[in-house]
């Protein structure tokens, strides 16, 4: 059974047209992450939530926003997508307790910007 579900799997948008990607989890994990991954690159952390506590990375552009209305759901909003924002967006969760920090990823949302 899928535990971290991302929608849509594929999203095509036009330059400057806002996009929202969603992530839901059935693991009841405290922490939810959004990563951006471009071809042949490492996942790049955009931000994460520990429960309702939002943690932005210093180099995440303002163009990227996030919402976590409840434990199960998290959204990534890209307010004005540019060509450089075309990437795979990965949602992940972790328990947030203990020391291991193993991540559970969704299948990703592939964003194309025309």
């Amino acid at each position: 059974d899928a535990m971290v579900i991302q929608n849509p799997r594929y999203q095509v948008t036009q330059f400057g047209k806002p996009v929202t990607l969603s992530c839901s989890q059935t693991l009841n994990h405290n922490v939810m992450y959004w990563y951006q991954q471009k071809s042949s690159q490492a996942p790049k952390l955009l931000f994460h939530y520990y429960d309702k506590d939002f943690n932005n990375e210093a180099d995440t552009p303002d163009n990227f926003q996030s919402r976590r209305p409840n434990t199960s759901f998290c959204f990534l909003d890209i307010r004005s997508p540019g060509l450089g924002d075309a990437a795979m967006y990965l949602c992940a969760t972790s328990r947030g307790t203990g020391v291991t920090g193993e991540l559970f990823f969704g299948e990703g949302s592939r964003l194309t910007v025309l």
């Binding site: 994460h48 990965l90 020391v99 920090g101 193993e102 991540l103 990823f105 990703g108 592939r110």
Partner: protein, 112 residues
């Protein structure tokens, strides 16, 4: 700052052989290292974690080692199969419980 370096060149091996992938880290020793598998167009999947005080960890055909002297982790797949073909990512803790520092990954191709 901490970094993770993995072999940038793709690794091609014959089915049945052991694949060995390398992960080197800089600066202080991480509390743990994690290994993930990523198939094209999909999210990474967690495979193994090894802690600083562990020398070796095994799971079925997978084995991970951690050498704090060499600042290196090795990831082995024994009796490799074409289905093992994927990119393997190494990640270390960033000094807290919630973030990871990732390598670029090593692409493995197992030829029948």
């Amino acid at each position: 700052s901490q970094k993770i370096e993995q072999n940038s060149e793709a690794l091609n091996i014959q089915e049945g052989k052991t694949a060995t992938l390398t992960c080197n880290y800089t600066n202080y020793s991480p509390a743990y290292l994690q290994w993930y598998r990523q198939d094209p167009g999909r999210g990474p999947v967690f495979l193994l974690l090894i802690r600083e005080n562990e020398k070796e960890k095994r799971k079925e055909r997978l084995k991970v080692t951690f050498d704090t002297t060499l600042k290196q982790s090795l990831f082995h797949i024994t009796a490799s199969q074409p289905a093992d073909s994927a990119t393997y990512l190494c990640a270390r803790d960033a000094g807290n419980n919630r973030k990871l520092i990732w390598g670029l990954g090593t692409s493995l191709a197992v030829n029948p």
